[in-house]
Symmetry: C2
Subunit: 274 residues, 2 copies
């Protein structure tokens, strides 16, 4: 999916919602545990109930990996159940030396046919660029994450030769990684828990899409981050996981998820018009 196609999709659906499929077998409604593949069955019903309200799905790979070999079968089935007009994100936070990153890229882009994968920047250029060698696929690089630990390293002032005032590490990651590829194949993770920093982010990456986690269970404010983060191509994918998929633990879980997703979509529709 190209950047233009993603923007068109967002305008058509009046939504920049990404639904995180953090599907934890310990949290599934009891009646699903009888299914042959409960994780897939849960995802299938969530997708069916929400696909008209969102533009992206983001399986969190940890949850599938935790189930052993069968978890990867559930993941593969889930990908097949996502409508072709939705963008897919492998939230895997990979990153390794070149030959290993190549292999991770091949796995997520070819075997599981994801559109994008989240990548950690610590190991630098040659840990990221192998993911950029797949035409039509995307790297979503961690910039500023939504968790408390984002303050430990991402917010450090880095001292750059020739610059009187330095910049913070996450800003330097945004600057440096733009030399590896542009806004048509890279996005950045910028957590909704830092609304005050979106203006600074947009100064560095005005055109990139931002994947914004942390709305909902983690406390981020949709309106604040939308006002500060939206660009003329929309440029935002706002993720919500637990708030939607665990809205009910009963037999009505899919209906309850739809209701939560619709509330977010309606607020997004309003913010897109504004």
């Amino acid at each position: 999916m190209t950047r233009q196609e993603l923007t068109r999709l967002i305008r058509a659906k009046r939504s920049y919602l990404c639904i995180g499929l953090d599907t934890d077998i310990r949290k599934l409604p009891k009646h699903l545990l009888k299914a042959e593949d409960p994780v897939f069955e849960f995802n299938r019903q969530i997708i069916e109930a929400t696909a008209d309200l969102c533009v992206a799905y983001k399986p969190n790979i940890a949850f599938y990996e935790a189930e052993g070999p069968s978890g990867w079968v559930s993941l593969e089935r889930t990908l097949a159940a996502i409508p072709k007009d939705c963008f897919t994100i492998a939230d895997a936070k990979r990153g390794d030396i070149g030959n290993t990153s190549s292999l991770y890229a091949r796995t997520f882009f070819e075997r599981y046919a994801f559109d994008s994968v989240t990548v950690a920047p610590y190991m630098g250029k040659d840990s990221v660029t192998p993911f950029l060698e797949f035409p039509g696929k995307w790297v979503i690089l961690l910039g500023l994450t939504s968790n408390a630990g984002s303050l430990d390293f991402q917010m450090l002032d880095v001292a750059l030769p020739g610059h009187a005032a330095g910049e913070q590490l996450f800003e330097h990651v945004l600057h440096t990684s733009q030399r590896w590829s542009g806004p048509d194949s890279m996005m950045y993770v910028i957590g909704a828990t830092h609304p005050e920093l979106f203006t600074r982010v947009r100064k560095i990456v005005p055109d990139h899409f931002l994947l914004v986690p942390g709305v909902g269970a983690q406390g981020g404010d949709l309106e604040a981050i939308s006002k500060a983060g939206m660009n003329d191509q929309v440029g935002l994918l706002v993720n919500s996981s637990r708030q939607i998929i665990y809205a009910s633990s009963g037999e009505d879980f899919a209906e309850a998820a739809r209701k939560e997703a619709m509330a977010l979509q309606q607020e997004m529709s309003r913010l897109l018009e504004a």
Copy 2:
């Protein structure tokens, strides 16, 4: 395995060799492709041929993940084939928000029974500490990696309030993470391609074990890093992957791997005596 047990094992085997099981199905000797599980069969024979010469095995998770669900079966079988007196490392470079890191930890420590897992530091404290909640298990945190991209961010000067001269990001990661746990449950990845920096690393973490990749295919020098990095508990696990496991692509691959492992073990034995 405790730190004392690991040191005793190293002295008993006169080896601090870790063998990286980066088992790529595309590189296996042809005659193994007929086996029911070629990846496991390769690993089993490598382990059988080298277990007396090394103290640790490090499966690189990317290679197993790349095979789809069956790759995780090969991984599980491989773990079962590693003698109980060898330390095991899941080279996974994980790191995510707390609830997700917890799940990754559970997967590698409980489902696959690894002794340790490599973790990326970019997301900070709450992305790492969930891995520290498993008694007897280890976090191996990325400090200074062996790849070219290690220069992009890890070597940045960070400006710290109250410090006239800052330190480099990798040094700050070593300093900061010592507040999360000590040398009995954390190790650090320090690449063999930076021998000149081992003295600085040892000033910050004198007692920790270091996992040192990059000897062999990546060009690191065993003698240089051993002289600069060894402490009175030995404190080093030096990894070699491709140089050992792909020493021959013929039917003699296990024998050839043994020969390469023995050459390293003999040099290590000499360096331990010196």
